[in-house]
Subunit: 432 residues, 2 copies
């Protein structure tokens, strides 16, 4: 057989492997959909217990991943994401207990009525079925995603990074054992082969077998998934968030909201990446803001007017075109002076990613115009962009933050992992 032939045969084999896992997941999903909240909560608590009890085994597997990553010269920041500790496992287990404590969305009657002809109509929440999660190096996502999908009655196919393969295998082995001991199908949580990029493609094109695909990771991962997917996908997490400082903003409030939005944590999708300042407040705002941002270690990439007002600072550099579209996820911030609120709104429409956009103002008309015209998952008035988060929004936990408009927009909790079904109850009702 030629090399090409062998590669093709291996490709077919991988495809069949992924689709066979999906078929098993589908079967498992049929059982999970009928599980009561009592059963699911007991399952999650037992999983939390088992993860803590089997810490040694998990850490041994994780050490192999960490050692391999070190050997491959992986930067320490990524090793830190990959590494588990006994404390981190306790944290992951606590996450499962939190999810167990959340209301079960399944069975909720969303709408209901009796039609004029007496037909009784109910729209009820049901699980989506099989969810595919594609993610990067953090092994805690394995458990978090499993907990949220199981609680919402779904089976899950996990496609993690090959760098975390040993850790993920160990974690899923623990979860599968607990599923079995609770009389639920172990196939409810499965790992998809992670050594070949093609397995992502096979997962996201398994129409009819997989009901939704959710990528969790950087912009590259997300667009790769969305572009290949024929299964419905939910785009998550790319955030080029703006803070707009209106002419009538309170100076102190504006500076504090900006610094919190940018510098609280720079590596998260709800961090601000650009500040836009109305020209009428720019001469007072810019020097103060630059000082506070410099204290927080932030480098500002300013347009000409911003740089001129900033004064001499090693933390200020001239912006280039790419800065307006950058999701830095670092201690960098693009900054521009604008002539008007409409210009700010236009800038956001052009460069924003539809995640979170904030205005700082005391003028109710500006607030109204900004909230009405800015098209994003979250629009904040006098509040840090950092609030866009399932935990902060009271959802208890989140599977991601959707930046698309269909199905779910913003933080996605348990209800966002369900669909609905219309039930009609008649007495031999016929349509005239």
């Amino acid at each position: 057989m030629s090399t090409v032939g062998t590669a093709a045969a291996q490709g077919d084999q991988l495809r069949e492997q992924v689709h066979a896992a999906a078929r098993r997941a589908r079967h498992a999903a049929g059982e999970l959909a009928l599980a009561t909240r009592e059963t699911k909560d007991a399952l999650l608590h037992a999983m939390a217990d088992a993860l803590v009890e089997r810490t040694a085994e998990i850490l041994t597997a994780n050490e192999r991943d960490v050692a391999a990553a070190r050997e491959a010269g992986t930067p320490e920041s990524m090793i830190d994401r990959l590494a588990l500790t006994a404390d981190r496992i306790v944290g992951v287990a606590e996450g499962l207990r939190t999810v167990a404590g959340l209301p079960d969305p399944v069975g909720e009657v969303v709408r209901g009525s009796v039609l004029p002809n007496g037909l009784r109509l109910q729209q009820v929440r049901v699980p989506l079925g099989v969810a595919g999660i594609v993610y990067e190096g953090r092994p805690n996502v394995t458990v978090d995603a499993a907990g949220l999908t199981l609680k919402s009655g779904n089976a899950v196919l996990l496609r993690g990074s090959s760098s975390a393969e040993n850790s993920n295998t160990a974690l899923v082995a623990v979860l599968a054992d607990v599923l079995r001991s609770h009389g639920l199908p172990a196939d409810s949580v499965q790992l998809v082969p992670c050594h070949d990029r093609a397995s992502v493609r096979h997962l996201v094109t398994a129409r009819g077998l997989v009901d939704v695909v959710i990528p969790r990771g950087g912009a590259g991962l997300i667009s790769a998934v969305v572009e290949q997917a024929t299964v419905p996908a939910i785009e998550t997490g790319v955030g080029n968030c703006h803070v707009y400082v209106d002419a009538d903003a309170e100076l102190d409030t504006a500076v504090r909201v900006l610094v919190n939005s940018k510098a609280r944590r720079t590596s998260v999708c709800n961090a601000a990446e650009t500040v836009l300042v109305h020209r009428d407040i720019a001469d007072r705002f810019v020097p103060v803001a630059v000082g506070e941002l410099a204290d927080a270690g932030v480098t500002v990439h300013g347009d000409q007017r911003f740089v001129e007002l900033a004064g001499d600072s090693s933390y200020v550099v001239p912006a280039i075109d790419e800065d307006w579209d950058a999701e830095y996820l670092s201690s960098d911030l693009a900054a521009a002076v604008v002539d008007s609120l409409p210009e700010a709104i236009e800038h956001i429409a052009t460069h924003g990613s539809g995640h979170t956009e904030a205005i700082v103002t005391t003028d109710v008309r500006s607030a109204r115009q900004f909230t009405a015209r800015v098209d994003a998952a979250a629009v904040n008035v006098n509040a840090s962009t950092a609030f866009t988060d399932g935990g902060e929004f009271g959802m208890g936990a989140e599977i991601g933050i959707s930046t698309q408009k269909l199905h779910a927009r913003g933080p996605m909790g348990l209800p966002e992992l369900t669909t609905t079904k219309w039930l009609t109850f008649g007495d031999g009702h016929l349509r005239p």
Copy 2:
């Protein structure tokens, strides 16, 4: 320039033409999103008036389409779909008035709360933005789709059939004139070039310009759109619907529900295409059902057991494998005898399209098991499959019936043409 080069240049030109229309629609959508209900309802009433007033002009255009279709040897059933009459235009105009009378979903506060830190949170309904509708020969879809998308604050790109081009152009000209006279952008409703299949591809891959694509038509059109789309798409309307007659069904009810489900209208997606009969009632049910179905002109494609019980009838033929997956949309019905309720559920899971599935039974346990285990947009107990319809469900009007699980499932009315946006109102709130 070579022919290939010319074709490529024409392809680029078409792509640019579609995308330019989408950019204009996007701009228009920004205005429409802010239109009040009062404005939108007045617009729809004025459109209804204008369509009736300009009937002569519309009919002249339609006659050109009809003449061309006749010349091309189009079957009369398709000509009937294409043809407009003064009465049909009045009907289309009435449809717009009905939509004007429906509540405006935009601005509805879906959820809201005050967080422990005092941050006020509102999830409000907002338009999706730009909707692309891909459809076939009926010109009335042009107006129906425009009415629903405009009322929900969206701009619309209409990609109709080339066979209806003159009709659609005349209809959109009327709608655009009314938009202009109401101070709203005429680009809110635009036709996409319809002479080249590639324009569908350009429309459904215009990510960032088009927010949702909804195909309306046959299975071929729908899967072509869904497979090509990188813009989120909503699958609509393929219906391989089943009626399952349980062992404990009332014989009369079962026969009436089946005949209504199958024969009320055979060309619609909620028509039944398969009947499954429990073996314990089959000997009583089958002969009666076959007689009633024959009276309605329905040919039954039965499995061996069904055919044996049916007796000698020119309306009964043996089923082949393809019958179980067929969406006939004609006076044909697949029929099988099953040994149990679980076998019926399994058959539906294998062959159903997730549209509407009905059980006829007097046993509450069977009803419960069927509604819990069957995975479809609508699951009916003792009621005809024909009820799955936006009008019947009290939505007033529908843009289609979604058979997918994400965003919307079942009949889609105005709220399904919206998304949401989180608004947060703080007083300089920072996240700790």
